[in-house]
Amino acid sequence: MDGSISVSNLNVWFETNHALKDVNLNINRNEITAIIGPSGCGKSTFIRCLNRMNDIIPKCRVEGRIEVDGEDINDKKMDVVEVRRRIGMVFQKPNPFPKSIHENIAYAPRLHGREEASTGKGSGPKRKSFTKQEIDELVEWSLKRAALWDEVKDRMNKSAYTLSGGQQQRLCIARALAVKPEIMLFDEPCSALDPIATAKIEDLLVDLKKDYTVVIVTHNMQQAARVADRTAFFYLGDLIEFGETKQIFEKPLQKLTEQYITGRMG
């Protein structure tokens, strides 16, 4: 399992609005790639294409190839459920289910069952259901990986809403990790959190990059500067510049990028 993403000629329309214009981008495995840009530039639209979440929006039309491990996920024959299992997503506002903490994380693995010795990629691996013990272990593993275990281990049966905002967001991350994805997508994960919670999540992101490919959309440029290896700058649906974070923040090649980064756009 590679975990790299290759986007070619991606175009997205919302009715007549051309939201993303011919985007070509390669995301490397085990790296954090940040997507920055002003409001309405298409960065959320872009990241939602990566796990086909734009399919739920009725007015949306997506064209182009998005290859994950060589397979085009936009292909009609591709199983959307499988795509979303392999590519997890964490949203802007923490959205745990109104269930207990344990149930929040156990829900998805129970749904998907366990993969038999993998018979390859795509649809096909047979699924058996987990035993209770396996589920409990999986929940513990997920919470540890999301740096939340110590804080919740003695209240696993309490409602997820009793947690603070930062904890809820980490719970959502644990929930996404529980199905063992290869790629994790984060859509402005810290915008609703205070600075301390934000710092914890950023540390978590850097830790996650060892095992997963991480793509993060952020409107906070400093966050992108702090955690990302590579950064892509979008403006009005176009990919303006994409390169190493250091280079983008010290010597951007495009004038638009420079304007945006130094805060002199608009």
């Binding site: 500067a225 010290e250 010597k251 951007p252 420079e258 130094t262 805060g263 002199r264 756009m265």
Partner: protein
């Protein structure tokens, strides 16, 4: 369309402060040279005063730079500008210091009987003041090209220094009574040569600020071989022959 007005104001103020510090530095060495060459004692306290002012200005500007970095997190060209300012003020401070060092030799040189070495000092000083002026201008105008040219003129200054050094040593060997004065002349020309180096540093920083990359090392190489001036012969570009004579 302007945004980040506060930040922009801070940057403009920073530029003005550095420019005024550079102006003071230029003033300092001009005054120092006048003091030494024209043997006018009035200028000495002036130079010392300027040096103190330059020193305190360096501290103010450094703090200002740190404030901008802490509060406004500049990136890209803004970051290069601020880091350049921080480095340039060090060079300007050294220039002020050297100016002050130069006028310390005033008493000795004034007492000596008209050492005509002064002419080469004057010439060197003219070049060096020009270089510092041009370095300052290149910073204010953000002109990278003129910054690069400074290195060639630095070679010239180095040559002059070498020449002066050898000539004065020769005369010190011939007449031991001239040792004190001669040493001070060497010191003064050394200071001038160091000032020229600092002006080149400023130019290098300006190049980085504008272009975003370091200057090519080849441009910095000093070509000392071209400075083949025989100490016995008269240096052609100095014009009159009687400058090597003693009074």
């Amino acid at each position: 369309m302007t945004s980040r007005l506060v930040f922009q104001n801070e940057l403009d103020k920073l530029n003005e402060e550095v420019a005024s510090m550079a102006g003071l530095a230029v003033q300092a060495i001009e005054t120092a040279v006048m003091c030494i060459v024209d043997k006018d004692a009035r200028w000495k306290p002036e130079v010392e005063r300027l040096d103190k002012e330059i020193y305190s200005l360096e501290q103010v500007i450094e703090k200002h730079c740190l404030d901008v970095i802490a509060l406004h997190t500049p990136v890209a060209s803004d970051l290069r500008t601020v880091s350049t300012c921080m480095k340039i003020i060090t060079d300007l401070n050294r220039i002020g210091r050297y100016a002050s060092d130069i006028v310390e030799s005033y008493e000795v040189l004034a007492a000596s009987n008209g050492f005509s070495r002064m002419v080469s000092i004057e010439h060197m000083a003219e070049l060096v003041v020009g270089m510092v002026n041009d370095a300052t201008q290149s910073f204010i105008k953000r002109d990278a090209e003129s910054a690069r040219e400074l290195f060639q003129r630095d070679d010239e200054v180095d040559c002059l220094y070498d020449t002066t050094f050898r000539a004065v040593v020769t005369y010190m060997i011939e007449d031991p009574r001239k040792i004190t004065a001669g040493t001070h002349i060497i010191l003064v020309s050394r200071y001038l040569e160091r000032i020229a180096d600092h002006a080149c540093n400023i130019g290098e920083r300006v190049w980085y600020m504008v272009m975003g990359e370091r200057l090519n090392p080849k441009d910095r190489k000093k070509d000392r071989e071209s400075c083949n001036i025989d100490v016995q012969k008269e240096p052609v570009h100095y014009g009159s022959s009687h400058e090597l004579e003693e009074k």
